[in-house]
Symmetry: D2
């Protein structure tokens, strides 16, 4: 099978002292921490689109990548060659999961019927690849944003036929994900938003989107799909404003349409920062709302205002993220999916490996550090103690609804209360975290 | 009474050709548009804090303002002098409403009892001032963020006694607002947020905040206050992250605690832009969710990352804002409140007038332009037509819940649908808007 | 000739009351203000690339535009058809100037020789078109950023052969601009920058860039080109950091290589804001340094972190820009070039007209308002008076070098000086500006 | 002497396994790396203002710190008590250098004469403290931005008497710095900028600023001060725009006034990011221009638009910074100065220690990692190889001025050159860096 990545070996764990660029320094898949292997904790996935579909163009420049699998006699032949390349890559990399959009793996064709027949054929190919290699599908999704028909949205389109077209794609993509035993199904509303308020009816589009998501939930139950449904928030790009702006916005949307028990979020690091939040904030918010589903593990550029989808390199950041996820019980159906792309100048085939190896080592080391933080308990004890007074009579009474503004005013006035602030000790806590990271 | 602003006349409408800097060029209070006077449409208010309390300091510099009312023999005497100055200013300016925080109008004192007695005395003073001058209170609020006790939050504080202290202030501020016939009561959670996630329990603080807001609603009914309760979103500043980030976030919070029928939003222009939204977006979002309450009419600096609270000068922006509000039925209890401050270098007393006159003229002209947009119907007709297909069988069936992913997939496939996109015509719509603004 | 835009008439001035969307409301080309016609003041230009080359794709979506001139039997035939369409458009629009990159007008071909021969042929075509229509070339430029060979820069490339290739393109593009009587020649360093500091030698790349610009100046004199050389600053996009970040940065670069008398700047509104400046700031800075050459007149989206290149619609903004330019003596060789593109959803051919008509009216009205500001003198008198003391002995002595820290310290101490601040009156000045804009 | 920090011990190096929060885990002052001790490499300094003058206020909140040294019978007594506290802190912390503004250490007084006499007395106090403790002065500076007289600038003020007043302060602050054997003298132009362009003459203010800096240089030579003069860039805050925006802007300014050999830059991490650059960018730019003087070592908040001045905690970031500085030969007169402040909620005296200990350990570990990067040479070899072709005939000829556009065009065309891009390998380089950081 090895024909695309001949000069790259199977990537193995060699430890921190290895100087082999094609070896893991930290990711030791079977190493057990807190009762689970690294592989089970991290549930890492590579994506199809950035690695095998995108050809290196940017807004001001043409394609820079020349991959053998771009060229074949027919679209279907190219799709199969791409699948060969993808699974060779996944296998050599030693990653457990992958993810795709319908049109990543299968040619769109010239009509809906061609779309369906192509996709069906390629699902068979993927099924066989999964069986041969042991690769698993973390999630599937439908691309309802690239085709010009979706330029004004899919579910939020002013034309209900386009809504119906998107529904058709999602129908098939959910079925395919189910057939391939996908662990989750993701909805990213890249065109669900507006370009100008002058031509947009926000209320109407929200209603359309709400009904669409309800239909997705209904279909899940109808086909018996047991994976998790996920919405991936992003504030903007491609459109000026996207309805799934951030986790808090998605939460309000889900509540409005009665979906907050049915759909969780897939948080992407770079989308968090584009929304004006820290990645840590988005993860902690999702955990606190019971909404954390999965993570698109990448990294943005703090100076750039668009989605750069870089490989994660920051152990400092991912240790806190992983700590948050471990505190919330760890991933259930979700995992760390690398929604990452090479820099346009990284034109070598080997660069695909460098990017992923660095990313996987970053997450593995972050996991090790986060596990120490969980075991050490220094942070959690501090936090518990900070709020300890809320376990006393006054605090529990307030939260139990036994107090009113009037009763509290009487309590404060009668007792002439003058409560004093206490230090939040942020600097000491930061030192504790660095103490875990830098051993 | 005139002793602070001797050299400024009562400000009158003189029309666009006037060269008098102390006259309105556009604000003609009694002019009728769409059946209401300008005054009734705009419901403009001046604030107490920026105009009469802030002394011109910034983070790197000392006070630059030297106002006569800063100095008096006692704190209460100073408070009364400040009230004299404020009502002289309001009256000369010819504005209809004002707004205050408890501690703007009344000295905090050294204990809760002093706070209560000072505030009670000053409410009497304000009541008399209102009667004498005809001024009305747009809204009252409590400052639960400046005193060091609130450094780690008020309702979201780790100490329930501080929660209780804030409840006491809000109890008295709501009662005062009720007594003064305030049209609304505002809650701005400037310290309800976190500085670092390392010491913060998001879920717990959210529960505290939810209960606090429920108590506020309960108190409103208990005292028979008929005004509207408002939350003012802001993403950050003073804290790193504030829980009332933006309108969409507040909506999710209200839904969680069953408050979405009870509390609306007070949208500040500068807070909208700090949250990464256009002001227009925040207004349109609130309107679409039925949450628009009132507006803090100011303007930020597009290059600065903090709340500059400048006087609104952009007719281009406020025409669209006012158009949105008119489409939603106009202000009910809310209005345009100038949460605006002078530049620190604008040290003349007269500058207070220049700022407000420019702001009031900006809103008056924006109202005139927006009324033309409503009357002209060019935009609304365009939007209705854009979504017209949703009134047909397919569209209404989808929204009525009569379709599923499967039925839509069958519909698309059986009919071999291939719906085509149509131009959004943003540029033409922008020209239409400018056609209304620039007559 | 009319075959592409059959259903659009020649655009004429019809005045503010016209409801014809294909008429100018404010741009009256021959109207005289301050001794020059509107046309002579504004020197407006349409561009070739956004209007005739870009096909409506974005990072997440395929082409949405289907223009007749995209398709032809050969690349050269398509180039000629594109030229037909472009000049039909320019002529119907009634704009005076146009601009192009080498590869906008001419196919790159498969080798440098094909490039040269294609370009030569197309320059002949353009020359004939200019003669027939009376259109003039505002500026020409070379695209040394789209071809993959430039992915790591052109002049700043780590490979001197790529530097040489870029030099070859610039050689031909300058010659073509000279032949077509272009008024300026522009250099935009879209790839002159870095993606990561880890592989970049800043000092070396700066030296390369410096020598390149010196060669450009030398070539200008060699061929007798009398137009102005312009650098167009942009902070980032496509690369992470671009060397021509903003006007101040370009100034330092020009000073280092002795070029500050030879090269001016072409300021783009959207690049200014991406650099963290107001557009007004960049224009005023360039004027104060004697560097203002030309302006790419567009408008960004305040919430988006990339170059949206929208049509200018803000008279509020462009009045101040035009006021600054008039104060500096008006455009010499430069003008207002519309580096603007349709929204991807604006798919109608007519939208090209809507965008430009709105833009031209915006600039025309801004010119009218700015002329009033010049004539009114209210701002300039205020500013002169604010600095008046610098005309006295102390001020002139300081600037003449007659004072030292020691002598000033003695002066202050001996006279026990205690100079007091005076109001900057920003609010009053803003009202004055609005008084000019909103008549 | 120990009376303010009784419950904090002298901070010692205890190594990575220490659990003592008042011990260094990484900073081992006398440890030798590349022939110099850690102390000599890092030249770390604590500041006077944030630690001993600021009282915990923010824009929306009152002081939260209650330090014993704020209160004393007189201003001069308070200044002496503050000096006692400061030097006790410096000494216990084990830091080598400190820094101050004139008015940090000495009361401003009511007149310039009082200012001079107070300052003179306090310089004597500091001199004695330095002798007793062995502390050294990294740099001194004058605060010409907090007093209301400077609200419209110091050197760029519209009133030359205010220019003269600032000159007087700088005269005395330079003399004091010289007397105290300061290693550098810093100029931070916090008010040198504009609030609105409507009242500002950029060219005139630039000339004023240029002359001021020339006088500073002249005075340096006159008094024989052998330290380095430094300008500290910052883009905005407090003012809307500051003239010393970033390093590139300062470079252009220095070139214009012939000062580029006389003044270097003091780069602050948080100012870099506020200017839209990475901290790494600013350091590398300064090194490449030969302008690197000193570093204000702090850390901003990526989501906040103002100067948070947090303690540096990122070894990932500071390793690259320190690597850049080592490549440039290491600090000469400059050092790492902690322009850092506690979070407003960190109200304990001990928090001052936590902040600095974490910061010093961060820099010490970063130094260790950066030294390995220097010794390993993996990055430098890669970079040298990337540009290797510039050492060949074509490359050297270009830079030596032996080529023209015409000669290069001939070379490319005659040889039918078609140079191909090569991978920039960013991901592999990032892995190499992480390989050094995470051992
Ligand atoms: Co992304
Ligand atoms: Co993603
Ligand atoms: Co407000
Ligand atoms: Co505000
Ligand atoms: Co642009
Ligand atoms: Co441009
Ligand atoms: Co700072
Ligand atoms: Co600093």
């Amino acid at each position: 099978m090895s024909e695309f990545f001949d000069n790259v070996p199977f990537v193995k764990f060699e430890g921190v002292d290895s100087t082999n660029p094609f070896a893991f320094k930290h990711y030791d898949a079977k190493k057990v921490l807190l009762g689970k292997t690294m592989e089970e904790h991290l549930r890492m996935a590579a994506c199809y689109w950035h690695n095998f579909c995108w050809q290196g163009s940017d807004v001001f420049g043409a394609n820079t990548f020349e991959r053998p699998w771009y060229k074949a006699d027919s679209e279907m032949a190219a799709a199969k060659m791409k699948a060969d390349a993808a699974f060779e890559f996944f296998t050599k990399l030693g990653i457990s999961y992958y993810s795709f959009h319908d049109v990543d793996v299968s040619p769109e064709g010239k009509s809906i019927k061609e779309y369906i027949s192509n996709f069906s054929a390629m699902v068979d190919v993927l099924q066989e690849k999964q069986e041969t290699t042991g690769m698993k599908l973390l999630w599937g999704t439908a691309n309802a944003f690239s085709n010009p028909r979706y330029m004004s949205g899919a579910a939020s389109n002013p034309n209900p036929e386009i809504f119906a077209y998107a529904a058709t794609q999602v129908f098939h993509a959910m079925n395919a994900t189910h057939a391939l035993k996908g662990q989750n199904y993701v909805l990213w509303g890249g065109r669900e938003g507006y370009e100008t308020l002058l031509n947009t009816d926000l209320k109407r589009e929200r209603a359309q989107l709400g009904r669409f998501m309800q239909m997705v939930v209904e279909h899940k139950y109808k086909i018996g799909f047991t994976g998790t449904l996920l919405i991936e928030p992003k504030p903007a790009e491609p459109t000026k404003h996207q309805y799934d702006y951030d986790t808090a916005t998605v939460y309000g949307f889900l509540k409005e349409f009665g979906l907050e028990k049915e759909i969780k979020v897939n948080i992407e690091a770079n989308h968090a920062t584009l929304a004006g939040h820290s990645f840590h904030h988005e993860i902690a918010t999702a955990c606190s709302l019971g909404l954390l589903g999965s993570v698109d593990a990448n990294q943005g550029d703090a100076q750039l205002g668009w989605d750069t989808d870089q490989y994660p390199t920051s152990v400092e950041e991912y240790t806190l993220i992983t700590y948050e996820i471990l505190k919330a019980g760890g991933f259930q159906s979700g995992g760390y999916m690398f929604d990452t792309k090479l820099r346009r100048q990284s034109t070598n085939l080997e660069d695909l490996f460098h990017g992923h190896i660095g990313a996987m080592d970053t997450l593995a080391l972050s996991l090790e550090r986060a596990v120490k933080m969980i075991e050490g308990e220094a942070l959690s004890k501090y936090v518990d103690q900070r709020y300890a007074k809320w376990n006393d009579e006054l605090g529990t009474g307030i939260l139990a609804g036994k107090q009113s503004l009037a009763s509290l005013a009487a309590h404060v006035t009668d007792n002439d209360l003058n409560p004093q602030p206490v230090s939040g000790q942020q600097e000491m806590l930061e030192n504790i975290v660095n103490g875990y990271i830098y051993r």
